[in-house]
């Protein structure tokens, strides 16, 4: 019941139009409250001259589920490379042993997000069959809130129904049922139809190309899913990992993917990997200009970037078709690709992005060009597609690249010389302001996910707050915030944890016609090993998976 005041900070709260104003903020019982003149303040935090934002929100980060755990198994050397941190001498076991650089253990993941001022992260690729596993991992990720997008569009039932020209309403109800059963916040499609096509030995699948077995096209899948989510009134648009990931010349299919939504909301994720042209002597060029123009011209499209960061990482994706194709380029040379029966797939390939590599250098350039060329920051979320482009711990570095043109030039000068020449980056003078950063790292993602009480600091919002010392070196500034509050509780101070509460889970529960369950039960009985009676995760069960973390239901858009 105690009232806390965060005094003297410079507040950046774009959702409420607050741009660098000096304000005192008040919170009580985990919520921001309006200033009450005579109420006694019980706790006082001095933020004089510091930069205050809502807690960071990462809307696309592979933090839980089968492929994340396979990544850990595959790369013990990555975990050995993790520098030892101060052991906890308080005897309270606040920080349990957990390690890793590109795919940290769940405990380390929660600790490091919180230490950086992030208070939520979302797993973008939860397979329905792997949903419990994903939730168990996220539940073991302390402090931060979490949620997941469930993967559809490569599962046999969806493709069968689409191929049979089943009524759209039945497909929509299947989507609604799956979101509910898996406790998801949204729906993702990965290489629409392509993961399934790879099971039938197709090695590529373009937007208007037919699936060898079902005859349907990625465009059919995209159109159906985006329409289903619109009718189910799910706030987060269809989350799309487009066709042809990593293929030179994929800009055409990326733009075709945007248009497959027929003007309905659509989110193209890690678009950097889908923005490649074929110009120049190496037949690999930046398509950032074309992609940015396409996004600028289509207000229904939002994106996250999937910036790559130089160094060792591991790529973990449902896109088996492309992961198998790229496996020979993996370093170190070991990889895992698996088909998941009736559902989707998973592919894990380690990568080392090198400044001396023309392709890697150009990927880095393309990511930054996209950030700088898209006009509306509300439609751009900052991601590295953790860990695929680089680990989330690179975010402070990425923020500095966006905010500091001189620093960007310095980094550019280290790259493969031909890539530097092939780049428009030197001409892009834009520097992100703190206000812009607050949009692409918290206010924008919260809005895109429908989280009404997150990503801002207005009265009634959750008191998830990050307070940074205003340092000219933005990388340093965003690495170790002076204070991080989660639901009003101080969890980190100057980059050191002081509390590790359980995070909550965000999910949506759209309305749908439960008549579809008859079809699903028959399909399950005929094709799956599990018992359909246990297919859906209940509120009680999800609560247990999340170690008692709070259930944070997200409202669907109102009808009418």
């Amino acid at each position: 019941m105690s009232l806390a005041r965060l005094a003297g900070g410079i507040v950046y709260d774009p959702a409420n139009g607050v741009n660098g104003e000096r304000r005192d903020l008040y919170f009580r019982d985990g919520r921001m409250v309006a200033h009450t003149g005579d109420a006694a303040v019980d706790e006082e935090y001095d933020a004089t001259g510091m930069v205050v934002m809502a807690g960071g929100i990462d809307l696309h980060s592979h933090i839980g589920g089968g492929k994340t755990n396979l990544s850990r198994l595959l790369l013990p050397e990555d975990h050995r490379a993790d520098p030892a941190r101060d052991s906890d001498s308080s005897g309270k076991y606040l920080r349990l042993p957990s390690c890793g650089v590109c795919t940290p253990g769940t405990l380390a993941t929660g600790y490091r997000y919180a230490e950086m001022g992030y208070t939520a992260a979302f797993e973008p690729a939860m397979m329905p069959s792997n949903a419990r596993h994903t939730h168990l991992e996220m539940g073991d990720t302390p402090i931060i809130d979490h949620g997941a997008y469930v993967m559809l569009g490569n599962d046999e039932l969806f493709l069968q129904m689409l191929a049979a020209r089943d009524d759209f309403e039945r497909l929509r109800d299947y989507v609604g049922w799956t979101i509910n059963a898996s406790k998801a916040l949204g729906v993702k499609v990965v290489n629409p139809g392509g993961i399934s096509a790879f099971k039938f030995n197709q090695r590529s699948l373009n937007v208007d190309e037919a699936h060898a077995h079902y005859g349907v096209t990625p465009r059919d899948v995209l159109r159906t899913l985006s329409r289903a989510l619109t009718e189910l009134r799910v706030p987060h648009p269809l989350h799309v990992h487009a066709s042809n990931l990593g293929v030179p010349g994929n800009i055409d299919s990326t733009i075709a993917t945007m248009d497959a939504a027929d003007g309905l909301p659509i989110h193209l994720t890690h678009i950097q990997f889908h923005s490649y042209g074929t110009e120049g002597p190496r037949k690999f060029s930046s398509g950032a200009q074309a992609i940015a123009e396409a996004v600028n011209a289509r207000p229904n499209v939002s994106i996250d970037v999937g910036q790559n960061i130089f160094g060792q990482t591991v790529t973990a994706s449902g896109d088996t078709m492309m992961q198998f194709r790229n496996a020979p380029m993996g370093r170190p040379h070991k990889w895992i690709v698996g088909d998941i029966e009736c559902d989707a797939g998973c592919g894990v390939v380690p990568f080392r992005y090198r400044e001396e590599s023309y392709v890697n250098a150009l990927q880095w350039i393309i990511g930054l060009e996209i950030f700088l060329l898209i006009d509306d920051p509300w439609r751009v979320s900052m991601t590295t597609d953790h860990p695929n482009g680089g680990p989330f711990t690179s975010y402070p570095h990425l923020i500095r690249l966006l905010m500091d043109k001189a620093f960007r030039n310095e980094q550019l000068a280290k790259l493969h010389p031909e890539a530097q020449v092939a780049s428009a980056l030197p001409e892009l003078a834009r520097e992100f302001s703190l206000y812009d950063i607050a949009i692409i790292t918290r206010a924008g993602p919260a809005r895109l996910l429908g989280l009404a009480d997150r990503g801002h600091l207005g009265a009634g919002a959750a008191a998830d707050i990050a307070v940074y010392r205003d340092e000219p070196d933005r990388e340093r500034m965003f690495t170790s915030p002076a204070y991080v509050f989660k639901d009003g509780r101080l969890v980190a101070r100057d980059g050191t944890l002081v509390a590790a509460p359980a995070g909550g889970i965000h999910f949506v529960s759209p309305d749908y016609d439960r008549g579809i369950e008859k079809t699903l039960r028959a399909y399950s009985d005929a094709n799956l090993a599990g018992n359909f009676a246990h297919a859906a995760i209940s509120d009680d069960e999800i609560c247990a998976c999340c170690r008692g973390g709070r259930l944070l239901p997200v409202a669907c858009f109102p009808n009418g």
Partner: protein
């Protein structure tokens, strides 16, 4: 369905729509996989030699999808891991032209679940040294239970066998204390040990207590519900009580 380097399982012929055969039932699996690997990589072998394996490789290459099923625990030791490696290499090679996958059957009695949970929590797989004062240390050779016990490196053994009764490892020295969280029927199995031995009967997951368990394909987690309510604590409850007692001032 083709059994390779073993007899066909009689149960297989009871499956609907399955033709069952077996090749080289008496052969050494190492030899068979070496030849199959070479063929999968496009190497030539002397004509007339290894005809059965050449047929098998051809059959796989012309199929649209082959699943290689194996049971790691049933493979001949002590270097069964080499066979698993060979199978994975073959499957990867086959996938260059057609589709194939491997399916390992193992990880029963909760082993797979423990492996998954330890990996996601810590970042390392099993056989990891956990200490609050030193970094985690993953070393599958050094921290093998058998090795630690045989080398006399263990001060005590904590033996968890909640699914089925499992006797203490042979390598356990008579003077090493043991704490057993075990299936109730283990009470009579422990015999008389010289060293201090504590036995706590525990609930059987999925019978006496709820929880979650990975299915052997490592993808699907099954929710467990108690079918009866034996008045026994689960392993998690005991661990929780110990942790709570430990963190009291």
């Amino acid at each position: 369905m083709c059994f390779v380097a073993c007899e066909a399982d009689p149960a297989a012929s009871a499956l609907p729509n399955a033709s069952v055969d077996s090749i080289l039932p008496q052969a050494d699996p190492f030899d068979v996989l070496a030849v199959w690997s070479a063929l999968a990589e496009g190497r030539r072998i002397e004509s007339g030699k290894h005809a059965e394996i050449a047929d098998l490789a051809q059959r796989v290459a012309s199929s649209s999808y082959t699943v290689v099923v194996y049971e790691p625990a049933a493979l001949p030791g002590p270097h069964a891991a080499l066979l698993v490696e060979a199978l994975n290499r073959i499957v990867k090679a086959v996938n260059r032209t057609t589709r194939a996958g491997g399916l390992a059957l193992g990880g029963d009695d909760g082993a797979l679940t423990v492996s998954q949970a330890v990996t996601w929590l810590s970042g390392f797989a099993l056989r990891t040294r956990v200490s609050m004062r030193a970094p985690l240390d993953y070393d599958p050779y050094r921290y093998r239970t058998q090795t630690l016990l045989a080398g006399g490196e263990a001060d005590a053994l904590l033996w968890v066998a909640s699914f089925v009764p499992q006797s203490l490892p042979d390598a356990l020295g008579a003077d090493v204390p043991a704490i057993v969280l075990g299936h109730p029927s283990m009470a009579g199995m422990l015999g008389t040990r010289r060293a201090p031995t504590v036995f706590i009967p525990v609930a059987t997951p999925g019978v006496d207590s709820g929880g979650h368990l990975f299915r052997i394909d490592a993808t699907v987690v099954a929710p467990l519900r108690a079918a009866r309510h034996a008045p026994l604590p689960g392993v998690a409850e005991i661990a929780g009580r110990l942790a709570a007692a430990r963190s009291q001032p």
